[in-house]
Amino acid sequence: MNLVVNGKETNINDGLTVSQLLVETNVRMPQMVSVEVNGQILRRSEYDQTILREDDKVEFLYFMGGGNVTD
């Protein structure tokens, strides 16, 4: 099925959980990432249970610093 991950169309296997997506997409520093699905940040405890669906919009967000907020 197709998802939008960080703004890019991505094809993944059906039934993948957020935890599995973190592994599949080889996300950087997975222990530091916050995952937003369709505009809602998931609690870490929800990563294992949340099954992704067709057309979900997934954002991997980090807030360890970096990025300009004044432009």
Binding site: F63, G65, G66, G67
Partner: protein, 412 residues
Amino acid sequence: MKTDTLAIHGGFAGDDMSGATAVPIYQTVSYAHKTAQELAAVFEGGMPGYIYTRIANPTTTVLEARLAELEDGIACIATSSGMAAVASAVMGLVRAGDQIVAATGIFGGTVSLFENTLGRFGVKTTFVDAADAKNFKNAINARTKLVFVETIGNPRMDVPDIPAIAEIAHGANVPLVVDNTVTTPILFRPGRFGADIVVHSTSKFINGHGTAIGGAIIDTGNYDWRKGVFDDIREVSSRAGQLAFLFYLRNLIYRDLGGCPAPMNSFLMLQGLETLPGRMLKHCENAGRLAEFLQAHPKVSWVNYPGLEGSPFRARVDKLFGGLAGGLLTFGLGDKQKVFKFIDSLRLARNLANLGDAKTLVIHPGSTIFHEFSPDQQRAMGLTEDLVRVSVGIEDFEDLKADFEQAIQKSF
């Protein structure tokens, strides 16, 4: 995971490199990157990575993750003190000309920050009696940017109706900021009752041993920054989504004010969190028993503990805090002279300006932590000259009772 497990394991599954079970202390100022291009990408926010400990640190990251999980929030920023948490959170929300609506009788340091420091920059604060939620509604105007309350005010020991106040704040599309220091997420998770931002002084019950100063800001995820009244944070939300507020703080206000925790202190807070659930239950048990003992004592003029039968706040303690009223109480001994003699006569309880320690602590707030406020202000904060504040520790109750009994006898 349930609360007791999160307090021990939240945010940390062991150290892959060494197998260490305690969270490693990353006592470092900065973080080297392999290439100039990589560091540039981290600065631009295009790649995750640590830059500088004033902005983020791996030990502190674990503390932040654990606190966010315990508060059921979306993320957390840990700070160098509770005041740094309040200052960073509130300065992220207000500009000159804006208004804060806050509960009367909140911590004196917060009152001073709002009135004196932020007052110098053109921010006005209106203080209202938190016992009746309607007072907040009446005080909110077009310039209001936030509502601020504590879960249990001290020394008033009042418990605001947080769900009703949250509804009022949301009616005006402004966030409710709740200081959860004295209840901790063990007794109360403000986000579940409508609060938008939770702040803590982690120096108190979370640290639990009087060994480190710290604070924290947690976004509960309730306030929609994409539709909020804060233009600059709304703009950030296009890149940071629901994390917009904390992202904005991390990359501007918190970064610029420099109120980051020392890595060693983050470690001490993590140690404290591990035993917080057990300690909070014992604090509450001892405080309830001490309140009942003092209430029955013929030489004690009055006792104020929101868990006592007959307290006007007992119903809210049951509804919001699951019947656990915390470790703080106040009582009166008639006049200041007797209070001083009582404090001087205590053998176990320590006379100092802190709360939430495993040890029982007492203070005469009128002549110490509130000394800079006028008699009128002190009255509004619920202070009388005969008031003693007790932060009830987790010692054996019979030893505490004996210490209080002998000191009361000597004070008359």
